[in-house]
């Protein structure tokens, strides 16, 4: 833990750029609106200025300080490395304006992410359900704390109206709270004690599948992302997530939330870049147990599903375009569970009982 916390200094520093305490919805929306106006009227720099004046307490009439901008990096094993390839790509807003350079994850970054995920998986799967629930709830807390930042980001990156952006952030928080409460219900809802026809106690219990490579929705950069990640980690899996290629910024900022919310490093790894480029490496990677193909479609989806067969990976593909604003069912949760059945004899306690088996 200590190692992870020091490694996330960047994230903490970044966090101080926005109000630490959760602002009320009203102020947040208002401030975001300012930022939105700034984006719409001028440029990223103007937006940055507006945000910085929010955060810095304003400089009435004084020339504002030049804000410090964030370098968007990958999130692997609880750390924020650049791509080992050194590649970046420009991320643009809805109108084509430059927003930031994102790291373009490579095959080797994907490999590193899988190693980190596999390493973290055992401990997370073995953690008590109560503990996992608390951690996921903590993610919701952290997200709540950065609500304004995310609203702003969605307005910038997605071009959402402020209200829509706020609703998406709120729904993302709610989604995490929803799944935080699932961790200690899964075994009770999907497990069973089996009344077998013999002197045995048999029970079936769901367990996490392992390392899941998830392709986040391309167009729903926060709620879609959270809705994909949360069910995977709720049951104890570790995730390697390929973000929306064109809208990766909320994911990287979400990584900062994850890094500060007691989630063990490696449980969620976030790769920005091209699903088409990374996909086949992940889908053929023998140390990945399952794929979530939500964020890819068409031929790529089919190709990845085909690749997955090489090591009999479980593949989750939504049948229709998901509507993440609706309350989730259990299909995503169940997609990354394995049912384990355990048997043990239950002998008569005594010979004298005339066991009669």
């Amino acid at each position: 833990m200590a190692q992870r916390r020091t490694s996330t200094a960047t994230a903490k520093d970044a966090a101080t750029a926005t109000p630490a305490a959760a602002p009320t919805k009203a102020t947040s929306v208002k401030k975001t609106a300012e930022a939105v106006t700034a984006v719409r009227t001028s440029s990223r720099r103007a937006a940055a200025r507006a945000v910085s004046s929010d955060a810095g307490g304003g400089a009435n009439g004084v020339i504002p300080a030049v804000p410090v901008l964030k370098t968007y990096k990958l999130y692997i094993g609880g750390k924020f490395p650049r791509s080992e390839s050194g590649r970046t790509y420009p991320v643009r807003g809805p109108k084509g304006e430059f927003l930031a350079n994102a790291a373009q994850a490579s095959r080797k970054d994907a490999r590193d992410a899988v190693v980190a995920a596999r390493k973290a998986f055992g401990g997370w799967a073995a953690a008590t359900a109560y503990n996992r629930g608390q951690v996921i709830y903590r993610i919701a807390e952290m997200l709540q704390g950065r609500r304004a930042q995310f609203v702003e980001l969605l307005v910038t990156a997605e071009g959402y109206p402020a209200k829509t952006a706020a609703a998406a952030v709120d729904a993302s928080i709610d989604r995490l709270v929803h799944y935080a409460g699932w961790t200690d219900k899964i075994a009770q809802v999907f497990g069973s004690s089996n009344p077998v026809a013999g002197p045995f106690f048999s029970f079936s219990t769901p367990e996490p599948t392992g390392v899941v490579a998830a392709f986040a929705p391309q167009d729903d950069s926060l709620l879609g992302l959270v809705s994909v990640i949360a069910p995977i980690i709720t049951s104890g899996n570790a995730a390697v997530v390929v973000t929306s290629e064109t809208r990766p910024l909320p994911a990287v900022t979400l990584a900062e939330v994850l890094a500060t919310s007691d989630l063990p490093g490696g449980i969620v790894n976030i790769l920005t870049g091209s699903a088409a480029e990374l996909g086949t490496h992940l889908a053929t990677h023998a140390d990945i147990n399952a794929l979530d193909l939500t964020g890819v479609d068409g031929e790529l989806r089919t190709a990845l599903a085909r690749d997955a067969a090489g090591t009999v990976k479980r593949v989750y593909t939504p049948h229709r375009t998901p509507d993440f604003t609706r309350q989730p069912g259990t299909a995503r949760l169940r997609a990354f569970l394995e049912t384990k059945t355990v048997w043990h004899p239950t002998g008569a306690v005594s010979l004298a009982g005339g066991s009669g088996y």
Binding site: P345, G347, L351, A352, G354, S355, Y357
Partner: protein
């Protein structure tokens, strides 16, 4: 421990099986125990425990010249010698025996019971079973006439067919032994007598020894003693051991059957421990039951006891006999026991010297089934003689 590698045929034949001593792990552990015991004997640091069998206070007052001597300890192979050194060594050993999973042993017994014995095999099995019967009467109402009648039945189980084998022995109370001995003189049929305050075993050692002596002096060729289950369940294995050893000493060359009364031992683990305890103390036979307690001889219990004698032979080279008693009433049941003997202990136990059935009504069912095998049609009880 490369005992078994590269020796594919090490147990290919019955004879070599006796020679090949597989030392189970829990025997290996005993080396340690022995070493510890040796330290004790040298008085290193710890109070010397009282060796079992030397507890003279539990010895009966000498009632006859023959019984005065302290019973000789059964001679055990070196790797087992320390086991009976003291109460705690004995306890460690018995509790170090592998456990018995009840469901596993019961399902194995049930599966073996589906063996189908037909035609010539069946006839051979029926004859074998008849020759293994300890024809028994153990009633308060046993009169001399009843015992004589029983002996007549033992000699000629089926008067209509002289080719029917004799039974192995008759089994009676000590005070009826002399009658049986007179009736069976010269027949080769054994005379077994229960002894040691049968069936409860609740009396003093001196009474039990006297009981045993009465049986032997009256002509018993085999003694069926009961263990003190209460003492066993109280965990005082040393006292049970001493008692068995004392009775065995009293028996001398007379074969001793040790009745475990498995129905009162309550668990298969206890059956296994009691079997080993009895064998360590010198039992010639281990026997399930008195017939007065239910459950008596069940297939799973006999499996556990057969495993014990098989393992004992592997560990010591000595073959101990087994006797289920009580509750075996049909030929079908008896054949199932014989299948278990064959497949669990081995063919070497398919010998009236090494396996017996303690029974009374079983004999007539065996005879009826035997007649059916020979004649091709079923028989009724009116056609076979009651004892």
């Amino acid at each position: 421990m490369t005992l078994f590698r590269g020796d594919l045929a090490h147990r290919a034949g019955p004879d070599s099986a006796i020679g090949a001593i597989a030392m189970p792990c829990w025997c290996a552990q005993l080396h340690h125990i022995c070493r510890v015991a040796a330290l004790y004997d040298r008085g290193m640091g710890s109070p010397a425990p009282v060796a079992l069998g030397d507890a003279t206070s539990t010895r009966p007052p000498a009632t006859s010249a023959a019984s005065v001597a302290v019973p000789p300890r059964p001679v055990l192979p070196p790797h087992l010698a320390g086991v009976t050194a003291d109460e705690s060594a004995l306890r460690r050993f018995l509790h170090g025996l592998p456990g018995v999973d009840p469901v596993g042993v019961e399902s194995r017994a049930a599966a073996l019971a589906t063996r189908s014995i037909k035609k010539g095999s069946k006839l051979a099995a029926l004859d074998l079973a008849i020759s293994m019967v300890d024809l028994t009467t153990l009633e308060g109402a046993d009169t001399p006439g009843k015992v004589k009648s029983l002996c007549a039945k033992a000699r000629r189980p089926d008067p209509d067919d002289p080719s029917t084998p004799q039974v192995a022995a008759v089994c009676v109370y000590p005070d009826r032994v002399s009658i049986a001995a007179a009736e069976l003189a010269g027949t080769g049929i054994g005379i077994a007598s229960v002894a040691t305050a049968f069936p409860s075993g609740r009396s003093s050692l001196s009474i039990k020894l006297a009981d045993t002596r009465l049986a032997i002096e009256s002509g018993a060729t085999e003694v069926d003693m009961v263990i003190d289950r209460g003492t066993f369940l109280a965990g005082e294995y040393g006292r049970v051991f001493d008692e068995i050893a004392a009775i065995k000493a009293e028996c001398g060359q007379t074969r001793l059957k040790v009745i475990l009364e498995t129905g009162e031992l309550a668990t298969y683990d206890n059956v296994r421990r009691a079997s080993w305890l009895a064998m360590l103390a010198g039992a010639d036979f281990i026997k399930t039951s008195t017939g007065k307690v239910s459950p008596a001889a069940t297939l799973p219990v006999i499996h556990v006891m057969l495993q014990a004698v098989r393992d004992w032979r592997a560990a010591t080279g000595r073959q101990v006999a087994v006797k289920p008693a009580g509750g075996i009433r049909t030929a079908k049941d008896a054949i199932r026991f014989l299948v278990a003997v064959h497949e669990v202990a081995g063919a070497e136990w398919l010998d009236p010297f090494y396996f017996r059935f303690g029974a009374s009504s079983l004999l007539n069912d065996l005879i009826m089934q035997r007649r059916k095998q020979l004649s091709g049609h079923y028989w009724g009880p009116d056609y076979v003689t009651v004892a």
